[in-house]
């Protein structure tokens, strides 16, 4: 996913901000990593450039 998407996505459950942790990135986008909602204490994975933001609680 492109970094600019961070501005428009939120936790699918509480709608709070997500914190990005990058494991692999190229000049265009984040390939692998995770998006964390600290309020819900939940990680949402980014795999092969696709964030999985399905609610998981």
């Amino acid at each position: 996913m492109r970094r600019s998407l961070l501005d428009i996505i939120c936790c699918p459950v509480c709608k709070g901000d997500l914190q990005l942790e990058v494991e692999e990135e190229n000049p265009e986008e984040i390939i692998c990593g995770k998006l964390t909602c600290k309020a819900c204490n939940v990680d949402y994975p980014i795999e092969e450039g696709i964030p999985n933001l399905l609610p998981r609680i």
Binding site: L5, D7, C11, V13, K15, I50, P51, L54
Partner: protein
């Protein structure tokens, strides 16, 4: 990054009708969200013609397919992971009335199954729409006569949308509609 093409809703009459509608609707400065992109045919038709374009699907095969075609794809349930504000939201609703014994239990199910009255996903989607649609933003929603045109139009109107049927197409046993809604809080009659 592998996916099964047979687990993605194929291009059908509804896809093509929505594609026709979106090509008439888009403006160069639109920030577009397509929910349930499926085969991505609609989204791919507007690449480079709008300011931004994001597609989602609940189906993992569909998001991988979209990503492989160069789209910004997010696996999501309806509008759940988005903040404000899109100027145009497009959704080919899972609109077929489906009884429990008709369910097929695969990923295509999510593209089709509208619950017993065909409006279950619509009623889950509607309350969240105003959170992610800019004031004055537009919705293009594809439904069928089987879903209940009057019920869908009335529900949108009550939530503060000006509504019209933009396009329609008669098929054997049903008629497809592209509904255009414009979000205008002042008109809410809640």
């Amino acid at each position: 990054m592998f996916y099964q093409a047979d687990q993605i809703y194929p291009v059908q009459e509804d896809t093509l009708l929505l594609k026709k509608a979106i090509l008439e609707e888009i403006k160069l400065n639109d920030n577009v969200l397509e929910i349930g992109t499926g085969n991505a045919e609609v989204a791919l038709s507007i690449v480079g013609k709008v300011r931004s374009l994001i597609v989602t699907d609940i189906n993992p095969h569909a998001v991988i397919h979209a990503k492989k075609h160069g789209l910004d794809a997010i696996r999501a349930d309806l509008t759940a992971p988005f903040k404000c504000c899109f100027s145009l939201i497009v959704f080919n609703l899972p609109y077929l009335p489906t009884d429990k014994n008709e369910r097929i239990d695969d990923w295509l199910e999510f593209a089709l199954d509208g619950g017993p009255d065909g409006r279950r996903v619509f009623y889950r989607f509607l309350p969240s729409l105003s959170r992610v649609l800019a004031l004055g933003g537009r919705l293009l929603l594809l439904i069928s006569s089987l879903t209940g045109l009057e019920e869908v139009l009335n529900a949108l109107f009550k939530e503060g949308y000006s509504v019209e049927v933009l396009l329609s197409e008669k098929l054997p046993g049903e008629e497809l509609y592209v509904i255009r809604g414009v979000y205008d809080k002042k008109k809410s009659v809640k």
